[in-house]
Amino acid sequence: MEKNIDAKIVELIKNDENISNSKISRILGIPKDEVERRIRSFSDTRQKILIVDDEMATLLPLKRSLEAEDYIVIEACDGYEAIKKSKTEMPELIILDLMLPGMDGIEVCGQLRKNALTEKIPIIMLTARDEINNKVKGLEIGADDYVTKPFNLNELKARIKSVLRRSKNV
């Protein structure tokens, strides 16, 4: 659906290079600012990171920090939203908090790995639970790395970079 909208926008622009955003908005029946956002994202070469955390206090500084590093940051505050956004936004990386309301991080990880669309997206687990068995469980189920709270921001950024590099090489 989302993909279709993107494809339709691309088709409309191909047909008429000078078509206005408001016209596209009218033709496809979607808000004008969304059309703008989508068109901007076509040309955007920045890497997209999905942060999944229900704690705004944790999420906010991380988001700002990664934005400053020139990543596109999208956010989800529970498991269901995380899975949905992974499929529609196709992020390059997911930072996943283990403790989530409803569906916990390990389950979210498992579901992402089962789906063909999302199975290759690298995941960094983020949690306050630093017990060794949780780490092992997370890695077993397909997480690429693991960072425990409270984390060092620079360390996390370094890990993000290395995980993204590895995934590109693959």
Binding site: A57, P61, R64, A68, M99, K149, P150, N152
Partner: protein, 600 residues
């Protein structure tokens, strides 16, 4: 040995043995007496018979002597006529009278016999001038036993002839038959050689020698007497014998011993019968006596057995003797023992029940401890997460501020606000934990005073309203203006209201409603916090006041609770002498309510 057997033997010894001795002695004595009397009777009868025979024979002798005298002076024809007449008069006694001349020729015979008897002994003996009685012989005429008596007929001392009489023995039978000799007895006469010359049984062969018979031997020795012996026929007999010297005859009377001593036998049988009857009676008596004695003892024994087995019934007291007393004492003792046993059993049962109860309690307590332990682990892990989350936020924000070149001032402000929020949250959490540990340790300090619930509610509502606004939740308040003041700790009650309202807010969706109400109720005021939230399932209702329990361990974080709120509130209200209650229906919302004592 059993008492019964002992008793029977004892009675037999003390009664039957002396009884038997007495019976035997008296029997023996009586037997002797009877035997003596029987013997005497027999002897007397024999003597009488002997005498009767003597008399009879003497009469015959006298007859012959008288006729001889008559013959001396009587004419021949007259004498012959007399002899016929005499013979006729004594029919059956005399077979024949005859006269012999000195040469031995028969001059006259009543049987008209002729001949010479010079060679006969009766002739020779009579010729000597004396009366002669012959031995018994069988008559040449009749074939029956007979004797011949001869006597000389003298004239001037010269023997002119001899008178003879042939005497039949038939008449002796009548004499002898008068003796009672029983059915098997015998009476007979022997001559001095021991030859049978007369027998009451006429078929007996005469002149048979039977001197092997004790009585016959004795009598041939010319003795008289009585004795027991085996006779010539081999029978045990009692016999008496009598010597008739005149004719050298022995009279023997024999009685069958059994017949003679029939009385003795009868006495013996009677005695034996009485003895056996006595023994039987004694045994029966001993049996009855011992039964009377042993029956209560048996009952006691059975009673003791059943007492051991634990199902005792009182033994009936059958007598008032020592055994009866013993039975009564036994019954009494058994009853007491059973009572004690019952009491002990009851005690043991009670003790067992107590033990079981305690055991159950221990198991339950153990289960609860296990549950609590697991809850505690969860709690610790949650708390560590709760502590780390704001810490992490603070650190990340600070790091961001420190390292990045912040382009926009509003981002900087945002970071600082984030730090302040996290610090507040951390503070709240630490306060909760401290309050909780104080309540748990019983070290929470309360300042009870007159408190106006209006003021308390106002403070709490101020805290909660901004949060409610964010969720677009309406908070209604229904507190009468004239509400009575309460006795309580203002600060602690604010905490309670904060917690309850916070929970209500937490579990109520956007655009829901929360109602805080209070009203007078007798000596207390009743406070209610009602929400239109998700409600609580029945099985979770009882657990929500448990320490560390959380209905949903992840939902609480949107509002940043510690999960200790209800525990703390419950502890505070308990310290106020009341309790928090909850009513809830899933999907319909929940109502928490509690009473507070009025002041004064």
């Amino acid at each position: 040995m059993r008492i019964r057997s002992e008793q029977i033997i004892f009675f037999l010894i003390i009664s039957v043995l002396p009884l038997s001795a007495v019976v035997y002695v008296s029997y023996d004595y009586s037997k002797e007496a009877i035997r003596d009397s029987v013997m005497t009777n027999l002897l007397v009868a024999t003597e009488n018979t002997g005498r009767a025979i003597d008399d009879w024979m003497a009469a015959r002798k006298d007859d012959v002597l008288i006729i001889s005298t008559i013959a001396e002076n009587t004419e021949k024809e007259k004498l012959q006529g007399y002899l016929f007449t005499f013979e006729n008069e004594h029919k059956g006694v005399y077979e024949e009278f005859f006269l012999l001349n000195p040469d031995g020729n028969i001059t006259f015979s009543t049987l008209d016999r002729t001949g010479n008897a010079a060679k006969e002994r009766y002739f020779a003996e009579a010729l000597k001038g004396k009366l002669y009685i012959s031995d018994v012989s069988l008559s040449g005429i009749t074939g029956l036993p007979e004797i011949i008596i001869t006597n000389p007929v003298k004239r001037n001392d010269t023997i002119t002839g001899i008178l003879g009489a042939r005497v039949s023995m038939e008449n002796l039978y009548t004499v002898i038959e008068s003796i009672d000799i029983g059915k098997l007895g015998e009476v007979f006469i022997v001559n001095n050689k021991g030859e049978l010359i007369f027998h009451e049984n006429r078929s007996k062969i005469l002149l048979e020698n039977i001197n092997n018979n004790f009585a016959v031997k004795e009598v041939t020795y010319e003795k008289r007497g009585v004795g027991e012996y085996t006779n010539y026929k081999g029978e045990d007999v009692l016999g008496s014998y009598y010597w008739l010297p005149l004719y050298r005859w022995g009279l023997v009377v024999e009685m069958n011993k059994d017949e003679a001593y029939a009385d003795v036998l009868a006495l013996g049988r009677l005695t034996t019968g009485i003895s056996f009857l006595a023994i039987f009676c004694v045994i029966l008596l001993a049996f009855v006596m011992s039964k009377r004695l042993t029956k209560p003892i048996e009952s006691l024994k059975d009673g003791a057995h059943s007492l051991v087995r634990g199902h005792f019934k009182a033994i009936s007291v059958s007598s008032n003797n020592e055994i009866g007393e013993l039975t009564e004492i036994f019954n009494q003792t058994a009853k007491e023992l059973l009572d004690i046993r019952k009491k002990l059993e009851t005690k043991i049962e009670t003790a067992n029940k107590d033990l079981e109860e305690k055991n159950r309690e221990l198991i339950i307590a153990n289960e609860e401890l296990k549950k609590l332990d697991s809850l505690k682990s969860d709690f610790i892990s949650l708390v560590s997460h709760e502590l780390k989350t704001p810490l992490s936020a603070i650190r990340t924000s600070a790091e961001f501020l420190e390292s990045e070149e912040v382009k926009e001032s509003n981002v900087e402000k945002e970071m600082l606000e984030n730090i302040i929020l996290s610090v507040d949250r951390l503070t709240r959490l630490i306060n909760d934990i401290l309050d909780f540990s104080k309540i748990e340790a019983g070290k929470m300090e309360y300042h009870f005073e007159r408190a106006n619930f209006h003021e308390i509610a106002t403070v709490a509502l101020e805290n909660i309203r901004p949060l409610a606004l964010k969720k677009n939740i309406t908070i209604s308040v229904d507190i009468p203006k004239n509400l009575s003041p309460v006795l309580g700790d203002r600060e602690k009650l604010i905490i309670v209201l904060n917690n309850l309202l916070g929970n209500a807010l937490k579990f109520t969706q956007n655009e829901g409603r929360i109602l805080l109400s209070a009203k007078d109720d007798q000596d207390s005021i009743m406070i209610r916090v009602k929400d239109t939230g998700m409600g609580i399932e029945k099985n979770k209702l009882v657990k929500i006041f448990d320490k560390f329990y959380q209905v949903d361990s992840t939902s609480r974080r949107k509002i940043g609770g510690s999960g200790l709120g209800l525990s703390i509130s419950s502890g505070i209200i308990k310290a106020h002498g009341s309790e928090i209650y909850v009513e809830s229906e899933p999907g319909e919302g929940s109502t928490f309510f509690f009473g507070l004592k009025k002041f004064g």
